[in-house]
Amino acid sequence: MTTSGAQPTWDGPAVYVEGVHKSFGEVQALRGIDLVVERGHVLGLLGPNGAGKTTAVKVLTTLLAPDRGRALVEGRDVVRSPEAVREIIGLAGQSTAIQEELTGRENLEIMGRLYHLDAETRRRRAGELLERFDLGEAADRPTRGYSGGMQRRLDLALSLVSRPAVLFLDEPTTGLDPRSRLGMWEVIRELVSSGTTLLLTTQYLEEADELADEIVVIDHGKVIAAGTAQDLKNRVGGDVVEFHVVERDRTAEAVEAVRALSGSAPSVDADAGRVSIRVGGSGSSALVETVRRLDARSIHTEGLGVRRPSLEDVFLALTGHGAAEGDAPASQARRGRRSGRRS
């Protein structure tokens, strides 16, 4: 039975996925995914809606059987020993285990019962988790009245009742306001520092950057890039300096002026007069240089600034298309998204 700190009896990686395919009818949600998460590491699975993130999590948590390929969690095969996998994993995120009529404490204690903890242990565990996730004051109120952030924290707490060896968080902050998101990051970081292996899916590069040791980018059910956040940003080209040219007909001249600032050609939206330059790690000095060069030619700009590369930039750099649009027809992308979440 699952008790505190399931002892891994194997020396391989905590999560190992090899060539996993999964289709829903005609929609191929996963088209040969490989993943490795070392014990105690945090892997961020990054991708737009419908990329296959949720499907991957469902395969790893035994909710969906893969059509082909293998997935092992602490060496346990998700198809051949699903019960053994369920004993050592925790899952939270898009789904919720919270029953809103019950109080936070009741939710936690019932979870403890389902993991067959004895009365004393489940009481203590519920108390600890409530404290740790800053829910002590609300512990005995029905969760119906909890804020979005509190509900996510409680839900995360519910997935930790059994002290899982490997935790899966499927878009843990999607739909949260910025402040609650920061709070959630805080909680997840703390969790990770205590050594839990974590696989986290997200649509936000920033989130993967904040929390993950390693990031795997997936799109249309395939891994398109893997590495640290820094690796990915280097591939994108680091910071982006961006501005709009006030006199649109001088856009070409402006591009000419700043071309030398980057190894790659600036991307230009001629209609909007927008110029974006990937400037690597030297955002602020490139910004100053940009201002100087444009000023020397008396080119007027608005909205001049430096920004961090977004998921949009990562996708543009890796796939040639943005995160929102795909190369599949929109209707198919939508269908894939729905299957990914619900099927």
């Binding site: 391989g12 948590t61 060496g75 020993s81 053994a84 369920r86 789904s95 019950l102 029905p142 059994s162």
Partner: protein, 275 residues
């Protein structure tokens, strides 16, 4: 030590616990989920309304508003005719809660979460069914008590009365399997609430529940006479008020077994597939 990079990883073999332990842990899980569902029910005013207040209202409405206009040839008058019918109808409508709760838990992902836990696969549905059975018992007993207060009396002795209550509960549980399937198949709380259970209305109202079938037009009688709700109510009346038991007993048993044989597998399949 093997080299993970050149040799394929070999999965760890994990033995399953012995059968008796699996059964024991499944029973514990079912008990936990039953408690959970009952607690939810107690906290939810809407559920209490549907399972207690609404049936009681029906008893009072039919007893005092429609009752006077409906002539029946039954010892003790309309209230004695009405009670078996209204108990069956309420038992059927209690399955509303089953459908709504399953659709809601599926929609919110609660069921996914349970399925990612080391729990017997059957525990979620069986826990639900056992909690709903307890709810049914409460509903039936409350209605019976109200019935007694407004003049209903069993005419056929204590044992037959108890058998009538048992039949009503079995009937309600069987209807729960249909509703459970509907809830799992539709997967959307709102849709289930608004149209998922419309089939219950013709089934319970076009039956012998509230009026003698002879008062309906001929084409409707054909349906009303032969459908399962009427069969069960006829048997319940025979038990409560006296009369031949045999034929309706067989028909009821066949109907209930048939419905369960169709909808239990359908519900289980819908549950397995839904995530």
């Amino acid at each position: 030590m093997r080299d993970a990079l050149t040799e394929p990883l070999v999965a760890v073999e994990v033995g399953r616990p012995p059968a008796y332990q699996q059964v024991r842990s499944a029973v514990a899980d079912i008990a936990t989920l039953t408690r959970r569902e009952l607690l939810i029910w107690l906290r939810n005013p809407a559920f209490i309304f549907f399972t207690i207040i609404q049936p009681v209202m029906f008893v009072l409405l039919f007893r005092y508003v429609f009752g006077g206009a409906i002539p029946v040839k039954v010892r003790g008058g309309y209230v004695n005719f009405l009670m078996p019918g209204i108990i069956a109808q309420s038992a059927a409508f209690a399955s509303f809660g089953t459908a709504i709760a399953l659709a809601r838990q599926l929609q919110r992902g609660v069921i996914d979460r349970f399925r990612a836990m080391p729990m017997a696969r059957s525990a979620v549905l069986l826990g639900r069914l056992s909690a709903d059975t307890m709810r049914l018992v409460v509903t039936v007993l409350v209605i019976l008590a109200v019935g007694y207060a407004v003049g209903f009396r069993f005419q056929n002795g204590f044992v037959a009365g108890v058998l009538m209550v048992l039949l009503a509960i079995v009937f309600g549980v069987v209807i729960c399997t249909i509703s459970g399937f509907v809830g799992l198949a539709i997967k959307d709380e709102e849709s289930v609430g608004s149209f998922g259970l419309v089939w219950l209305f013709p089934l319970t109202f076009v039956s012998a529940a509230f009026v003698p079938i002879q008062s309906m037009p001929g084409w409707l009688q054909a349906f009303a006479k032969n459908q399962p709700v009427t069969t069960v109510i006829d048997e319940m009346r025979a038990l409560a008020l006296g009369g031949p038991l045999g034929l309706h007993a067989w028909q009821s048993a066949l109907w209930l077994a048939g419905i369960a044989a169709v909808f239990v597998p359908l519900a289980v399949r819908a549950y397995r597939r839904a995530t």
